[in-house]
């Protein structure tokens, strides 16, 4: 470690001592005799460089960047236009859909009403027919009933006179019988 430090110091000495010995003129950047040449060549080269940058290189890069910007802006507006078209198509589609839905509703309602009316008339007709048949049947029953009732008196007279004859050995008179029957049946 100590040896290393020592040799490092030696290297520094060597590095610093040599220039003093070799360049008596001094430090090159402060050597005034070279200034004129450096200034002249800097002026020439920088002027050429500036001219080329200004007239060739920069317009070129600027052109490329501008083209790209224009292209991007163009693409953007194209995309916007397409989007608007899409939006319009969607709106039209939705409107058509709503219209179709309304129409379908209308058709369904109409059909339902028509069917309902049909059913109603058919039901009414059937009910009317049934009522008529019921009426006829009731009339028939009433006829049979009155007929049966009118025959009951006769049967009861016959039975009564037969019973009385068996009990007392003599048939009652028609008048008595009718009287008795009437009082019993009322």
């Amino acid at each position: 470690m100590a040896g290393e430090t020592h040799s490092t110091t030696e290297g520094t000495h060597e590095a610093i001592e040599v220039p003093a010995a070799e360049h008596g003129a001094g430090f090159p950047p402060f050597d005034v005799t070279t200034f004129a040449s450096q200034l002249l060549w800097l002026a020439i080269t920088f002027a050429v460089f500036y001219w080329i940058m200004k007239n060739v290189a920069m317009p070129r890069i600027a052109g490329i960047l501008e083209d790209r910007e224009d292209r991007i802006a163009g693409d953007f507006s194209e995309a916007n236009r397409l989007k608007e078209e899409t939006d319009a198509a969607i709106a039209a589609y939705e409107q058509a859909l709503a219209e179709a839905r309304n129409k379908a509703h209308g058709i369904a309602n109409d059909t339902r009403a028509k069917l309902k009316a049909d059913n109603e008339t058919r039901r009414e007709k059937a009910e009317a027919g049934l009522a008529e048949k019921l009426k006829a049947a009731e009339a028939h029953i009433a006829g049979i009933k009155t007929e049966a009732l009118s025959q009951i008196g006769e049967i009861a007279g016959d039975t009564t006179s037969a019973l009385v004859e068996k009990l007392i050995g003599k048939a009652p008179t028609k008048t008595d019988l009718t009287k008795a029957l009437k009082s019993a049946m009322n």
């Binding site: 040896g3 290297g11 220039p19 360049h23 060549w41 940058m53 890069i61």
Partner: protein
């Protein structure tokens, strides 16, 4: 010579040119200025040659640099500042590529010479002064007289503002120059340690692991500094340009 940390900043003549007793030679510094300009232009132009709507990797690097500088300038100086965009973009790219070029071994770092960074700083300052007077006339002096300062303090504040304005080119150029210079010297010194330690035998070779690790870490740091100093130079340029556009603050 291999261990000399200053040697890398030496200017060497490639084509000697002398006009009227002045030395305008084409030097290694000039060569790397030309290389910086050529490499940057070539990259920016070839990477964008596809003009792809969807950028390739290289194209997106160019676009990123462009939009990065544009964003920096716009946020500091507003939309009006965009008239200086070519200047600011050129400065950023030039300094950035010059700094990054300096990271190649045996390459010359042009931004490690104070005269180069000072010239670039003066370019910015003169742009600010000339444009400031052209646009605002005498109102440009409002830059030195902040509003809302008590009258008693006004002379002092104005003096401070003037000094701060005058020190701008110095701080702008010295910051970049000193960062590049110090970073390259440090790198060279630490890598020099590796060589001199290894010469000492087995213990030295083992010991040279430490400076080797430092050199690797410093190289990463220097890449960060190369970018950061280019960015700082650009941001400050944008802020100074903002003063030229809106002098009353």
């Amino acid at each position: 010579m291999a261990n000399d940390p200053i040697h890398q900043f030496q200017i060497q003549k490639i084509f000697p040119i002398e006009v009227g007793g002045m030395d305008f030679s084409f030097t290694n510094s000039s060569l790397f200025m030309v290389l910086t300009v050529a490499a940057t232009c070539a990259f920016l132009i070839f990477s964008t040659s596809g003009r792809g709507l969807v950028p390739s990797r290289l194209q997106s690097v160019s676009e990123m640099a462009y939009e990065f500088v544009a964003g920096t300038l716009r946020s500091a100086a507003g939309t009006e500042g965009m008239r200086f965009f070519p200047l600011v973009f050129s400065l950023f790219m030039f300094v950035l590529v010059a700094n990054l070029f300096g990271m190649f071994p045996y390459f010359f770092t042009i931004t490690s010479h104070i005269i180069v960074t000072f010239a670039l700083a003066m370019l910015v300052i003169f742009t600010v002064i000339i444009y400031g007077f052209m646009r605002n006339g005498m109102k440009f002096f409002k830059l030195f007289v902040p509003s809302g300062v008590p009258v008693a303090l006004l002379p002092l504040v104005t003096l401070i503002e003037v000094i701060s304005f005058l020190s701008r080119p110095v701080s702008l150029s010295v910051r970049l120059f000193a960062n590049m210079l110090a970073g390259h010297i440090t790198l060279k010194v630490f890598s020099g340690f590796i060589v001199s330690l290894s010469a000492l035998g087995a213990v030295g070779i083992f010991g040279s692991i430490l400076p080797l690790g430092m050199t690797v870490a410093l190289t990463a740091l220097e890449f960060l500094v190369a970018f950061l100093q280019a960015y700082v130079f650009t941001v400050l340029t944008c802020m100074y340009l903002n003063d030229a556009i809106h002098p009353s603050h």
